[in-house]
Amino acid sequence: MKVVHYLNQFFAGIGGEEAADHPPEYREGPLGPGVRLDELFGGSAQVVGTLLAGDNYFSMNHAAAMEVIEGLLRASGGEFLIAGPAFNAGRYGLACGEVCSLAVDRLGMPAFIAMSENNPAVELHRAKVPILRTSESTSGMGQALEDMAAGTRAYLGSDGDWSDASPLLISRGIRLNEVSPSRGSTRAIDLLLSKIEGRPYSTEWPLPEYDIVQPSDLEVTNSQPLLALVTEGGLVPTGNPERLNSGRADRWFRYPVQSMDRLLSEEFDIIHGGIDTTPSNENPNRMVPLDTARELEPNGGFSLHEHVYSTTGNQGSMPAMRKIGDEIAAELHNEGVHAVIATST
């Protein structure tokens, strides 16, 4: 098996931070930690070359870097890509993730990254690329290389299946269907009897760990705070010209309301697909209380933001909702909004 090893310029031995804008290049044979990795393969695989780039170059010239790397990888004749170990280095980890995703997606080349569980690149890339767990810092280099060699051997020995390497891998955080040897009812009874009789048992579907969002302190120091109305209720202009999804939303919109005293049913629809929308379509202010907010505004000690923000929460996937929430929150911050009333279905 011909292995290509991806390193940043520092681990490849080409200068420190001052050389972090080094463009991608390919060199024959192993470099830096690749030398030891190649030894640890003990002949079962061979590091045929090293792909390297500066972390800064990578993040500053993303599209160009990807194109060059794809060309280098294709020309390398490699069959397998290993990136890192990147430990907890964020930019390095992100570069490893991008290069490995490219290898998997565009070249169909198997790949894995070695980095620590706390590397920010883990969340972005784990669904697609196997990630081998390392320590936080280079002090764990020796162990990391041994694990990387063991992981490669396990993959090769099981004919392209990662399951034998799984103790070394960080959970991919995904669930995939499979056909079990026994039917669900039988498994449920087996599981129950183990639980009753005090034998070890494990759920087939681990419960999720959600972030606990603490509502922030409502004390507002500004004498005339800016208040924004935000909803996940699927508020759209009549006819939904921008096609906000009625479920599983992947987008959000803002609508100007500066000149409005209330939301008129002729001008707005509620397209949320998980509730009976009849009452809120008769009066959209039931979903987004612009009418009451306007009534209170003159003497209420606040001013209303010029836009209302809308998405649909129905059947939302957690990553998509997190992204939408982050984007709306970032915009509210930029616009100097002090407080938000978020209405939910």
């Binding site: 959970s171 995904i174 269907n177 026994s182 039917r183 669900g184 009874i189 599981l191 129950l192 639980k195």
Partner: protein, 437 residues
């Protein structure tokens, strides 16, 4: 209350001019059966087809599936509430054509919601292990409703019901499946069964074995001919939880009530062969003792959920169980009720397992509707949002188009498991599951 099921194995169905069971081959008198089904004035036409394992054939627009059965002996009452008065079933003798199914197919009519109506399965081996009907000999009944229903211009009233005409038509289509079931199974009368099994709950408690109760969440089925309402879904308050003898479920008391998502549709065939009830019976006296079944439907307000789940928990506790199996019927509200019951039982010291399908459009999403921390032993019946590739097939029964896909129904196409009839069945009828990676 002992039920004796007499199994007659069927491997082939042949359309012919008399109805007889010869070896494993069931010959069906197609003219007589067709005439019998055409007595219903909802239908302009009824046609009969057979679908066998290995055929390059796809069945689409399925409504329900039924195992051919008829009660034997005096005072027989098949599918009570439909084909007879709603008399109690679950004792006496019933003939079962094992290996066969009746599947009704019909294109949706305008007054009916198509939101959840897509329901198909293949007779090829592409869905081995998770398509309950792909390895059965199926009699497919294709129904064409009369013009007045077919060309009704009114839109559906809501996603659950549709117009009264559509509701009435759907009941008639299900009834056709039940009638065909009895018609076919009567061919076995007087023959020697391949196997006989007796089902009965223990009369006295054996305290050496853990006693297990099953809490059975319903998805709006017919029970003795009457719809069991879930809260809010089809109007009026939800049905109160009730104790029921498991034999009644196995013996035709419960019939599919509405066209829920195909992967979790509460099919009559699956109720007749209810996997949790069958497995509990199978193991009763060996490594557990089967205590009974509590049926429950979901509430639609916080208050009704408190009431209904409390009541279901109390009914279960009256049986003094050592453990409980709970299923989740699918959907939003029902999940909350299932989890509330799980929590209440665990809080009262009764260990539970929950069977649940997953619904994650993205594999990195958790797919949970709702959960409680006590639900630490869940059996996954698979993620119904995961898409599968269905191959090109030579022929299609049940219509000319898929409802939610522009692809030709002959395929090939990719479709989530949600459309595959019975695939992520909520009672664990199939071997489908999902695993974390």
């Amino acid at each position: 209350m002992a039920l004796q099921l007499e199994y007659f194995d069927v491997t082939d169905i042949v359309l012919g001019d008399r109805t007889v069971l010869e070896g494993g081959t069931l010959v069906v008198d197609q003219d007589r059966l067709r005439a019998h089904l055409m007595e219903d004035d909802h239908f302009e036409d009824v046609s009969l087809h057979v679908a066998h394992p290995g055929d390059s054939l796809r069945v689409i627009n399925a409504v329900d599936a039924v195992e051919p059965r008829c009660r034997l002996g005096n005072g027989d009452h098949d599918f009570p509430g439909f084909l007879s008065a709603p008399q109690t079933v679950g004792d006496g003798r019933t003939a079962v054509l094992r290996g066969a199914a009746v599947v009704e197919v019909s294109e949706p009519v305008p007054g009916e919601s198509t939101y959840w109506r897509e329901a198909f399965f293949d007779m090829t081996d592409s869905c081995n292990g998770f398509s309950p009907f792909s390895d059965l000999a199926n009699l497919v009944i294709e129904v064409t409703p009369v013009k007045s229903i077919r060309e009704d211009e009114r839109p559906p009233l809501n996603v659950f019901e549709g117009t009264p005409e559509a509701v009435s038509l759907n009941r008639a289509i299900r009834m056709a499946g039940l009638k065909a079931s009895v018609f076919m199974a009567s061919a076995a009368e007087g023959s020697e069964p391949n196997e006989v099994a007796t089902f009965d709950l223990p009369s006295r408690r054996n305290t050496d074995l853990p006693g297990i109760v099953y809490l059975y969440q319903l998805a709006i089925p017919y029970l003795y001919g009457e719809i069991v309402p879930g809260g809010g879904a089809i109007g009026g308050p939800a049905h109160l939880p009730t104790l029921i003898h498991p034999n009644e479920i196995l013996d035709g008391a419960l019939v599919c009530g509405w066209n829920a998502i195909a992967c979790m549709r509460e099919l009559t065939y699956v109720a007749q062969n209810h996997p949790i009830i069958s497995d509990l019976y199978e193991r009763s006296g060996k490594d557990l003792e089967f205590l009974g079944v509590v049926l429950f439907a979901n509430g639609d307000t916080r208050e009704s959920k408190d009431r209904l789940t409390g009541h279901a928990t109390t009914l279960a506790r009256l049986l003094n169980p050592d453990g409980a199996v709970i299923n989740y019927a699918g959907g939003g509200h029902p999940c909350v009720d299932t989890m509330m019951i799980c929590q209440k039982l665990e809080e009262s010291g009764i260990p539970t397992t929950v069977l649940s399908m997953e619904m994650a459009p993205n594999p990195s999403d958790s797919g949970f509707v709702h959960f409680v921390r006590e639900a630490d032993a869940i059996v996954s019946t698979g993620n119904y949002e995961e898409s599968y590739d269905f191959p090109e097939v030579k022929s299609v029964l049940g219509g000319t188009a898929l409802l939610n896909s522009d692809s030709s129904p002959n395929g090939p196409f990719s479709y989530p498991l949600s459309g595959l009839l019975g695939s992520t069945n909520q009672f664990g009828f199939t071997n489908m599951t999902a695993r974390s990676h």
